[in-house]
């Protein structure tokens, strides 16, 4: 009890210090909103960017005792720069560079220090390997691509993100880029945690008429396969299931890289999407994407092989090919003033392990999402601005299910279907300078997440954000949130953009 009180006091004290620092910034931020992006070379080169600090404090002890409640969970400082260079009409080069430094290990030496070698800064891998390596450049040069427009065609070639679908925060059509879940799990804006890939993205507008706006899109990723990234042992957001006492440290994390397919053309991933308006403004898209799964599965009988080989990393995982066929739609219904959206995907031979992680199954799956968006006035709470209400329901079925297979589903329910719901509400006050919001997520395998947040934007250059992630689950295995159920936090963010 005494220890608990001390921890509570530590949380409150640290939060108070950070709030005071933020208030100090509020007070000194003066002046008029004249921030403009920088233009050079007679307007051909446009420069913008931001400098950001994210500070989070744990409110619970870490599952694996890496840190206590009240300790820092993040002190990340990011400098991101963006350039857009226009060679001529219809020919641009666009780039985003990102540098970051995670300071929590330097600020608090009582934290588990093991992960900092590779997770301390964007140059960690280079510094660790003694030099500015290819992987450092890859981390630094976040996006870099040419944009070429020619009549009804547009080609984007280079390192980039491509986003498909209608869902918010769900991976159904938004599967082209894997996610980096190592530094803040899925609790960041996905624009910041998608891993850009070297690819070609070709768009074409069919000249069929204004009413249909029929367009096609081709995505080709010629061999640049990346898997989803997870935190290393010692880092706050580690998946507990990856930590097995008695086995080499980070075995299950470093093995991901070892099992990665080689960078060859025959390992290309390819996708196609067709979209247009039908039936009086129903915006309908159909897609197909042939790719490897971003997340690994254990090889059949991997344990026996691994024991025999002394846990050779390449004996553990596989990234298997699947074909995903699906679509999305949205339409506006004028009587209810609601935008309805939906998405669905059939995955051919989606791989699963059994609960003992010894067998490998391939099953067809079907998933769908239905959602709505509606701005609604709630006058007693906000006279001038609507509340944006957005809800989603997501279900996934594993077809060809047999109970005897003991399939290990991602949500660990060992049930053929999963069911999730989410709800988001936001509004703005005082000329949109104050923006409160709340996000609710519930997985019917009994875990969930609540994220209240408030953003203060006194000038276009400065943004101050405060919020919390409350995560609940009955164990640290089940569902998407079970592994992080003890990583609740309060967070503060200061961002200067130019």
């Amino acid at each position: 009890m005494k220890r608990k009180n001390m921890k509570r006091k530590r949380i409150i004290k640290l939060s108070f210090i950070i709030i005071v620092i933020n208030i100090f910034f509020f007070m000194v931020v003066r002046g008029n909103a004249n921030a403009r992006h920088i233009e050079l070379l007679e307007g051909k080169l446009s420069l913008t960017g931001f400098l950001k600090n994210q500070t989070t404090i744990r409110t619970t002890d870490h599952t694996l005792d890496y840190a206590d409640a009240g300790q820092l969970q993040m002190f990340r400082n990011t400098l991101q720069m963006e350039q857009d260079y226009k060679f001529c009409e219809g020919f641009h080069l666009y780039a985003i560079e990102r540098m970051w430094y995670e300071g929590m290990w330097d600020l608090d030496h009582s934290l588990d220090q093991r992960a900092q070698n590779e997770m301390k800064s964007s140059f960690s891998k280079g510094l660790y390997n003694k030099g500015f390596t290819k992987s450092s450049f890859d981390e630094f040069m976040r996006e870099l691509y040419f944009i070429i427009d020619y009549k009804d065609l547009q080609l984007r070639i280079g390192k980039q993100q491509v986003v498909w679908g209608e869902s918010d925060g769900l991976r159904m059509s938004d599967i082209i880029n894997p996610l980096d879940m190592s530094w803040h799990y899925i609790f960041e804006n996905w624009e910041d945690i998608r891993i850009p890939l070297w690819m070609m993205n070709l768009k074409y507008n069919f000249p069929f008429g204004m009413g249909q706006n029929l367009r096609g899109e081709l995505v080709w990723i010629p061999g640049d396969f990346r898997h989803s990234i997870f935190a290393k042992e010692g880092a706050p957001w580690v998946i507990p299931g990856f930590v097995v006492p008695g086995l080499p440290e980070n075995l299950f994390i470093t093995s991901l890289d070892s099992s990665k397919p080689s960078r060859q053309l025959r390992n290309s991933e390819i996708g196609f999407r067709l979209q247009g308006f039908f039936f009086n403004n129903l915006d309908l898209a159909l897609f197909v994407f042939y790719s490897r799964q971003d997340g690994p599965v254990f090889k059949e009988d991997w344990l026996i092989r691994a024991i025999n080989s002394g846990f050779r990393p390449t004996d553990i995982y596989d990234f298997l090919w699947t074909t995903k066929i699906g679509g999305s739609l949205n339409f506006y219904e004028p009587r209810t003033k609601v935008v309805y959206r939906a998405e669905w995907a059939f995955t051919n031979k989606e791989p699963y392990n059994d609960i003992f992680l010894s067998k490998l199954y391939k099953r067809n799956t079907f998933a769908y999402m239905i959602g709505f968006d509606r701005p609604t006035f709630i006058k007693p709470l906000n006279e001038n601005k609507t509340f944006f209400l957005s809800g989603q329901l997501f279900q996934k079925y594993i077809l060809g299910w047999h109970d005897s297979d003991n399939i290990n589903t991602p949500d660990q329910t060992r049930d053929r279907y999963s069911l999730l719901v989410s709800f988001f509400i936001s509004t703005e006050y005082y000329q949109d300078t104050i923006a409160p919001q709340i996000f609710l997520f519930y997985d019917f395998s009994n875990n969930g997440w609540v994220n209240p947040q408030i953003k203060y934007n006194p000038t276009p250059s400065w943004i101050f954000t405060m919020g919390a992630h409350f995560i609940f689950s009955h164990n640290n295995i089940d569902g998407y949130l079970g592994p992080v159920r003890k990583d609740d936090e309060v967070y503060f963010e200061v961002k200067y953009q130019f």
Binding site: N32, A33, A35, D84, G209, M210, G211, Q431
Partner: protein
């Protein structure tokens, strides 16, 4: 023969008469070339929009040191001949439906001849404004200043382009008068791309405004999400990105005509802002909730009282001032649901080739919160009108992704 004394007296009387003649002839009328501010605005009070008069009379109320305008010689606005021909050909077919919408409009001014005794005169003027001639397409760039009078500061600066494409009622560019390709029910489309501020840079917005009886459609490319999101039509009365404007307030009023009742109050000469910002840029002062230093011409103006039919509409009443020559809504005084004046919205226009009226600025003053939004055309950027460079592809949702980053 007149006495010398009598001659002197007669000369004195004549001289005096000619000295006061200008005052007699122009008594109360704005004088071209004269700048009016709080020292002499009283002379032309009847020619000035009431709220504007109050502001000029008490400039500190709006935090403006020199709140003034200059009267320019009146240049009568003439529609292009193609518009006149279309009006003559099609206006006789236009009818007002029971729900106050119109049918059989093809092109031109729907109701060119306004009888001030007509009980539907106000409604007809509203439709004339809705179908005003602004070119078959146009594009220009705007600064959006958001000013706080109380804190004497500028809150926001937004910079965007603004593109419009007319689908029905075309008179210059083929195909005309209808664009076709499945757009028979589409009146026009607006496309806007934001360059500033940094948090909405690369955001694109597309609006489809349909002919009467159908809700608008909207889409936005949200840079943080990296995808296009469809928006609800319920957002027409939502304040736009930190400004004092609803979507319905753009161009003074761009809501659905048939959703209001109208009554023509009168017609009189008033000082209407007709300003080419390339020659005479308006002054935007930090913390000022209105621009100042414009040029105005004395023009016949119709005054219309607009009452929204929806009891939940944010405004209970609007007083409109419609330019009698080009039927453009130049100013609006709006009232909240309790009947108190809420906003003063005024627009300036100038004319470019093909007699297209381009909006040079739009001022929205929230008189209750002493806050203002000034949307001012960038005079240093080119204006395109009736241009083959403004292709229809720009007004498709796919274009939002094309320009996306």
């Amino acid at each position: 023969m007149l006495h010398k004394k009598s001659l002197y007296i007669l000369s004195g009387i004549c001289l005096s008469f000619f000295a006061v003649l200008p005052n007699i002839l122009w008594s109360g009328e704005p004088v071209p070339g004269v700048t009016y501010n709080n020292s002499n605005i009283e002379e032309i009070k009847d020619y000035v929009y009431p709220t504007l008069y109050q502001g000029i009379k008490n400039p500190t109320m709006w935090n403006i040191d020199k709140f003034e305008f200059t009267v320019a010689p009146h240049v009568k606005y003439e529609f292009p001949k193609e518009w006149i021909e279309a009006t003559e050909k099609h206006s006789k077919d236009v009818v007002i439906d029971k729900d106050d919408s119109i049918s059989n409009w093809t092109a031109g001014t729907p109701f060119p001849n306004i009888d001030i005794n007509d009980p539907q005169a106000g409604l007809k003027l509203a439709w004339n404004n809705d179908k005003k001639w602004v070119g078959d397409n146009h594009m220009n760039y705007y600064f959006w200043y958001s000013m706080d009078r109380r804190r004497e500061r500028q809150d926001h600066l937004v910079y965007s382009d603004w593109n419009r494409f007319i689908f029905n009622g075309r008179i210059l560019m083929d195909p005309k008068p209808h664009f076709g390709e499945g757009t028979d029910d589409l009146a026009y489309a607006d496309y806007c791309y934001w360059f500033e501020p940094p948090d909405i840079k690369h955001m694109g917005y597309l609006l489809y405004v349909y002919m009467p009886k159908k809700d608008d459609e909207q889409w936005a490319y949200i840079p943080a999400m990296r995808r296009v999101r469809r928006l609800s039509g319920a957002q027409r009365t939502d304040v736009l990105h930190g400004t004092d404007q609803f979507l319905d307030d753009s161009r003074v009023y761009s809501g659905h005509v048939a959703r209001n009742s109208y009554k023509l109050i009168g017609k009189k000469k008033m000082c209407v802002e007709r300003l080419d910002p390339r020659q005479h840029p308006p002054y935007v002062g930090i913390g000022n909730i209105f621009t100042t230093g414009e040029l105005r011409q004395v023009v016949d103006v119709y005054i219309v009282e607009n009452t929204p039919k929806d009891p939940n509409y944010p405004y209970s009443k609007l007083i409109w001032y419609i330019d009698g020559e080009n039927f453009i809504l130049t100013a609006s005084e709006t009232y909240d649901r309790k009947g108190a004046q809420w906003k003063y919205i005024e627009s300036g226009y100038f004319t470019i080739p093909h007699q297209v009226s381009i909006q040079s600025k739009l001022n929205t003053c929230d008189l209750q919160r002493l806050h203002g939004t000034q949307i001012v055309m960038d005079p240093n950027k080119p204006i395109l009108e009736n241009s083959p460079e403004i292709k229809v592809d720009r007004f498709k949702p796919s274009f939002l992704l094309k320009r996306a980053r």
